[in-house]
């Protein structure tokens, strides 16, 4: 007789009652169900709802939305605030990019080259801004940048620089908000560049030293190429994650002003939705922002991918 356990096993699979078979097949989906439900309720549902709303007129105080067509989009294009906010957003992104890449990379390399207790202390201090609550830091900056009693102007006074209303002057407000936000971006990315450097094989540096490379040449030909992917990744990642931080600073410090100089599409969206209660226009803005961001990231990934292939 053949192996009885094998036969029993076969029977178990082939002749199981349909209910049992269904249960076995449903099992993985049951495990996934909580996540799928959460995603549908909190992400995909609102996404679709926003897309639909962008073609409707709905004052949030009114009971029902009504169909409007593409009027929300043409309003975004034709009224001056949104294109202005979009241009400002571009400035935010372009100025923020070096603070997401070059600056933290240089700091991370400097810390990595001199390992020790001092380096560890610096690393910790540098990371601290990331964990502080955005609103709390924004309010702290408000005190620091106060034109009359703020510490920034006091220190500037020591160097003979006259008191300046950093956040009240349209020429400096945008850059003030940017610098304040960049502290957090730099802090986070120093940590991430540090992690990438920890992955750099020591043997490569030693091989380069044996090949006669100077310290700068090792950095230039071994360390920087090693960090290239991290630069691309963090550059693009920062373009996604930085907006809540910028938003918090704008909302607390300038409310988009003065004269719209710190305005950006995210703050504009917030204004449409919760100042004017115009859910339709806000939704249209959200669709435009999401689409533009997807386009930028898609292009970025495409270029990065092509360069990688070109090198190979």
């Amino acid at each position: 007789m053949a192996n009885p356990s094998l036969i029993a096993g076969e029977r178990g699979v082939d002749h199981a009652p349909p209910v049992v078979r269904l249960r076995d097949r449903a099992r993985p989906w049951l495990y996934l169900a909580p996540l799928i439900v959460a995603l549908v309720v909190w992400v995909y549902g609102p996404l679709v709802f926003t897309g639909v709303l962008s073609f409707m007129s709905w004052n949030l105080t009114a009971p029902h939305p009504s169909w409007l067509g593409t009027a929300n989009y043409s309003r975004l294009v034709h009224e001056p605030q949104f294109p202005h906010a979009a241009r400002n957003t571009l400035v935010y992104a372009v100025v923020m990019l070096p603070f997401a890449t070059v600056v933290p990379m240089a700091l991370a390399i400097a810390l990595w080259k001199r390992p020790g207790r001092v380096s560890t202390v610096y690393r910790t201090l540098l990371f601290l801004p990331v964990v502080l609550a955005p609103i709390a830091t924004a309010i702290t900056w408000q005190f620091l940048l106060d034109p009359l009693s703020g510490l920034v102007n006091v220190v500037a006074g020591w160097f003979g620089v006259g008191a300046h209303n950093w956040l009240g002057d349209p020429s400096s407000a945008l850059y003030s908000v940017l610098l304040i936000t960049s502290v957090k971006v730099v802090a986070l990315n120093v940590l991430l560049f540090g992690a990438a450097l920890a992955n750099l094989e020591r043997g490569l540096l030693e091989a380069a030293a044996l090949d006669g490379a100077t310290e700068w040449e090792i950095t230039r030909h071994i360390v920087l190429p090693h960090l290239r992917r991290t630069v691309v990744l963090l550059g693009m990642l920062s373009l996604v994650v930085v907006w809540p931080w910028i938003f918090a600073n704008v909302a607390v410090l300038t409310q988009g002003g003065p004269a719209g100089s710190t305005d950006n599409v995210y703050y504009r969206l917030f204004t449409y939705a919760f100042t004017f209660f115009d859910a339709g226009t806000a939704s249209a803005a959200a669709v435009v922002i999401t689409g533009a961001l997807a386009l930028v990231l898609g292009l970025g990934l495409l270029v990065a991918g092509r360069r990688r292939r070109a090198i190979a």
Binding site: L204, E206, A209, G212, R228
Partner: protein, 447 residues
């Protein structure tokens, strides 16, 4: 004259040079000028008084070691013995806490790695992952050209030298590939090409074969030996594999616990191990060691399951000794079931009946060793068979290799093994140093 009387072993820290040095290293650090009369040639690599500590323990403590110019020196030892540290000290990747490194007579102790005329092939090859094979190989040359536009290599010279090493190592087809697109053997050849394209005076190889699979390793070993013959420069290879150590080098350095235990030509180190560590580290299966005590007139040594009659003058020792023999030097003899004697006609003439004690084997009448035991483990190795035997008493088991198709005992069979006197090694049980044939002092000091 027998081998035991004829031993000319190197001392533990002696240099592998034609003129033997006094056995004990001098405590002071010699400089190059007074090194020469001692037999250290100014060519090749000289380590003088090198100490490298990690924490309190010295990872490397080499009073003096010379690597002859043009040799293929294999440094072997168990992991953590300091062999890689030594290599890195020569390369300039580690700075010694004390002592000096000389390469071809020049003190390079404080020169950066790139200026020593030294190249290193890393264990994991350490190829630059973002550079093609060609860029990996010419990286050093291009840097040299940039550093020194006048006397550095020209562009034409760089490309001809790269083409030359690529042809030599069979890399010409792979020049545009990235390291990630290469097999392990190809990566190793790129690592070698990158090292030799700069024509280093000294080529260092850190376990170059350990990342390769077994079949490739055999071929790579032959390729390395051939490459050394073609280049003719000084090559130092570090390995933990005793087979590589014995087969590849013209010069062998055995290390243990940060110290050089023995240095010399591989055959010499194998035949006259300086101590029990070298004796058991080199060779597979390792050398058998038995604790024996002198008996009778001092020419007879006996222990549980072992009896030896030595040629030459009586041993001066009264205490126990360690007697060693290699498994391949043992000859299996037939045993009769009843007693101690050999089976009919099996070498009977040279046995006398003066047994030393009850567990002992009859002492052979002529020079040589006789062992008795019971076959415990029988391992077929392809070329032959290794039989691990146990003797009565507390002695550790011992092994005997049986060549080819010779008859193999079954597990549980009584075994009788004879070893010729010239294949017997004697060691001091305290410290394990090799003993001279006639004196009670360690062999090295006797010279």
């Amino acid at each position: 004259m027998t081998h035991i009387a004829d031993m000319t072993t190197s001392g533990p820290t002696e240099l592998p040079t034609p003129t033997p040095t006094p056995g004990r290293p001098r405590p002071d650090v010699p400089d190059a000028s007074d090194a020469a009369p001692d037999g250290i040639t100014t060519d090749g690599i000289t380590l003088a008084g090198i100490v490298k500590r990690y924490g309190a323990h010295p990872a490397l403590d080499v009073p003096r070691l010379g690597v002859p110019a043009g040799s293929l020196t294999v440094v072997v030892g168990p992991s953590g013995c300091g062999k890689s540290t030594g290599l890195r000290v020569v390369a300039g990747l580690e700075t010694p806490d004390e002592g000096r490194v000389l390469i071809d007579g020049t003190d390079v102790t404080h020169l950066p790695p790139g200026e020593r005329g030294v190249a290193l092939v890393f264990q994991d090859f350490a190829l630059y992952p973002h550079m093609t094979v060609e860029r990996n190989i010419d990286f050093g040359l291009r840097l040299a050209a940039r550093h020194d536009r006048r006397s550095g290599p020209s562009r034409a010279e760089i490309s001809s030298r790269v083409a030359e090493v690529c042809a030599m190592l069979g890399l010409s087809e792979l020049r545009r590939r990235l390291p990630s697109q290469l097999s392990g053997g190809e990566r190793q050849r790129v690592g070698l090409a990158r090292a030799i394209v700069r024509r280093p005076a000294v080529l260092l190889l850190d376990e170059p074969l350990s990342s390769l699979d077994a079949q490739l390793r055999q071929r790579a070993r032959a390729e390395l030996v051939r490459l050394h013959r073609e280049l003719g420069n000084t090559v130092v290879l570090v390995t933990h594999d005793q087979l590589e150590a014995l087969s590849m080098g013209t010069n062998l350095v055995v290390m243990n616990r940060g110290r050089v235990v023995q240095a010399g030509p591989p055959e010499q180190v194998y035949r006259y191990p300086a101590d029990t560590f070298v004796a058991t580290f080199l060779g597979s299966p390792p050398m058998n060691l038995h604790t024996v005590a002198p008996a009778g007139d001092g020419r007879v040594l006996a222990g549980p399951g072992v009896a030896a009659r030595l040629p030459g003058p009586p041993r001066p020792e009264s205490g126990p000794l360690l007697l060693g023999w290699r498994p391949a030097d043992g000859l299996l003899e037939p045993v009769d079931a009843a007693g101690d004697g050999p089976a009919h006609g099996g070498g009977g003439p040279d046995v006398d009946s003066t047994a030393v004690d009850s567990t002992a084997v009859a002492v052979p009448a002529g020079p040589g060793v006789v062992l008795r035991g019971v076959a415990d483990v029988v391992e077929f190795t392809g070329d032959g068979t290794v039989v691990t035997c146990v003797s009565p008493g507390e002695d550790p088991p011992w092994a005997v290799s049986i060549r080819g198709r010779d008859r193999v005992p079954a597990v549980g069979d009584a075994v009788r093994v004879r070893v010729q006197a010239e294949h017997v090694h004697l060691f001091d049980p305290d410290g394990g140093l090799r003993l001279g044939a006639t004196t009670g002092r360690p062999d090295a000091a006797a010279k």
